[in-house]
């Protein structure tokens, strides 16, 4: 038989090289630890307000990331909770303009961006940024809209010394230290872990930490069995969880790493040759997501869509980028109407195996 020996794998356009060291690659110099007295924190945040926009979690009826506009409002910044909506919204807004449409032609809309500082970001959400970078900053087709926002953003993390609630399972998700700065509470002061030049520029004046110390990664009592999901793809357990799913899409909307989008055009009523082309965050749980023009739907059932989400988070992305797409933030369980817990289901399934 004279079939050509050409390997399909070698032809894959993308070789799956992880890019998750984008932030860490900025790292220079030996001393990476600084000490910030707690009374210096407020002046630091106020200094950031003067340099650009400051975004931080604030607790009212729940914790939300929002802009902190006045120096006094810095006092309202939350240090204890887990934000409802992830800070992903500052890199990938729910809706953003890609092009202006003028006389039937697309015009690029290049926005001049001010520096933005996002502070008190938890380790799970910081890791989500690296996961988004892999997609949106892929070397072949980097996304200019994401790139502009990413470049203008400095992430200052807040390490979780205690687990925030029973839904967190980041302790089992093999998190990485990806941030510009991380605040680690030492009691009277913060140990500031510096991971980029951008971060260093903000804390240069602070005293170096004396001890050789690396802030520990958060621990959680909830853990996800890290085995692969491929053997369980055809299992029945998806169906049990699926019966509880009401299709509200909160899991994907609130996920810090869900990146899927749709492109939509919106025209002006008074001039139908003008308008804008928008990128709108989309959800693989939507019945429309895989429907092609003509009507065929490749994931027509809710069960298929639920399985696709979990497989993508825990398996497909890992196959491509050698890291899990889930950061264990727990939002898709915490805010699920039916509290569908894929971690519990998977763990139980592995016990049965």
């Amino acid at each position: 038989m004279s079939v050509s020996p050409c390997s399909a794998q070698s032809l894959l356009a993308h070789e799956g090289k992880p890019l998750n060291s984008v932030m860490a690659s900025d790292r220079r110099g030996e001393r990476l630890g600084k000490i910030l007295r707690k009374d210096q924190l407020k002046p630091l945040f106020q200094a950031l307000q003067r340099k650009g926009s400051l975004y931080a979690p604030v607790k009212t009826d729940m914790v939300r990331f929002q802009e902190i506009t006045t120096p006094e409002d810095v006092d309202a910044i939350d240090f204890s909770g887990h934000a409802f909506f992830p800070p992903k919204k500052y890199l990938l807004p729910n809706e953003e303009e890609l092009f202006a449409i003028r006389e039937g032609e697309l015009r690029e809309t290049v926005a001049e961006l001010d520096q933005q500082f996002i502070v008190n970001v938890r380790m799970c959400d910081l890791n989500a940024v690296g996961i988004l970078d892999n997609l949106y900053l892929d070397p072949e087709y980097p996304d200019p809209y994401y790139r502009a926002k990413r470049d203008a953003t400095t992430f200052i993390g807040l390490n979780c010394v205690h687990e925030l609630d029973e839904y967190c399972f980041c302790g089992s998700m093999d998190l990485q230290r990806e941030y510009d700065l991380l605040l680690h509470d030492l009691g009277e002061a913060y140990y500031v872990d510096v991971r980029s030049d951008k971060g260093m520029a903000l804390v240069e004046g602070l005293p170096d930490a004396e001890d050789d110390f690396t802030p520990p990664l958060p621990r959680t009592s909830k853990v996800l069995d890290p085995k692969g999901l491929w053997p369980f793809y055809a299992d029945k357990w998806w169906a049990g969880d699926n019966e509880l799913c009401v299709g509200c899409q909160r899991c994907t909307t609130l996920c810090p790493t869900c990146f899927c989008f749709d492109v939509k055009d919106d025209l002006d009523l008074d001039d139908l040759s003008s308008g804008k082309r928008l990128r709108v965050i989309d959800s693989c749980h939507s019945p429309d997501f895989t429907r092609v023009a003509g009507g065929h739907d490749f994931r027509a059932s809710r069960l298929q869509r639920y399985r696709h989400r979990v497989m993508h988070k825990l398996q497909y992305y890992k196959d491509e980028f050698k890291r899990s797409m889930c950061t264990g933030c727990g939002r898709c369980i915490r805010y699920c109407h039916s509290k569908i817990d894929f971690v519990k289901t998977i763990n139980e399934e592995f016990v049965h195996e």
Binding site: T253, P287, H337
Partner: protein
Amino acid sequence: MTEEKRKPRIAIHSITGCAGCQLTIYFIKDRLLDFLGAVDLVAAPMIKGKNDDDGPYDVCFVEGSVSNRRDLEHLKKWRAQSKVLVALGTCATHANVQGIKNFHDARTVHERVYGQEAANLEGGSAPVAPTPLDEHVKVDYKISGCPPEEVEILKFIKEFLTGMHPRIYHEPVCVECTKREIRCLLEDGKECMGPLIRGGCNALCPGVGHGCTGCHGPIEEANIPQTIELLKANGVPLKLINQHLQKYAGLAFDKLGAAIRKEVEGP
């Protein structure tokens, strides 16, 4: 094409309902003149003295549900003389509150409303079971809502004017609610029909702390049994849940398998 494109002939007609849906069109404020400039509004009896009742229409918006014989006659006439027929508002798409009548003994309801006169409802006024338009004629598009949203109507008109087949939003209320970062009422142990109901309203009611009452009607894949479980867990009595399901789109929920025919007794 060298000749200038003819403006589409639009009609806005009404059968049994409160007429609030067409008011939404007239209340598009700063966009109304753009709208009137882009179309030829040939029939709109609510705001125009002179109307073309005989068509033909390129688009005919019909609000209200079929609730008596006259409604049905009108609807069939409009359908026959329209290229595109749009059911505007929840009366037209789901029979709305008058559809509650479908779950009760018609005679009891008529006597309660009309008293002695109930027996005299004849001719065009003779009642028929309140039903959405698509029970009687082919409906090309449905824009539900009580009243429908201005942005949805505008989007429809814009897409139609550019020769597209307009696309109607059909994700549940929860999607927009979550994007607006509104604290979930269901999570707080309150009543909210959000997971079952088509959005497009940008979570108007949850945004002001009121649970969704379901005025847009159900989404295609509404998971009714599980949503009922969630509401029951919040202490909402089953009878009340079923009343919510009946309120705007009882017939649709009935078709989707909600057991609402037996559960609710008496008006």
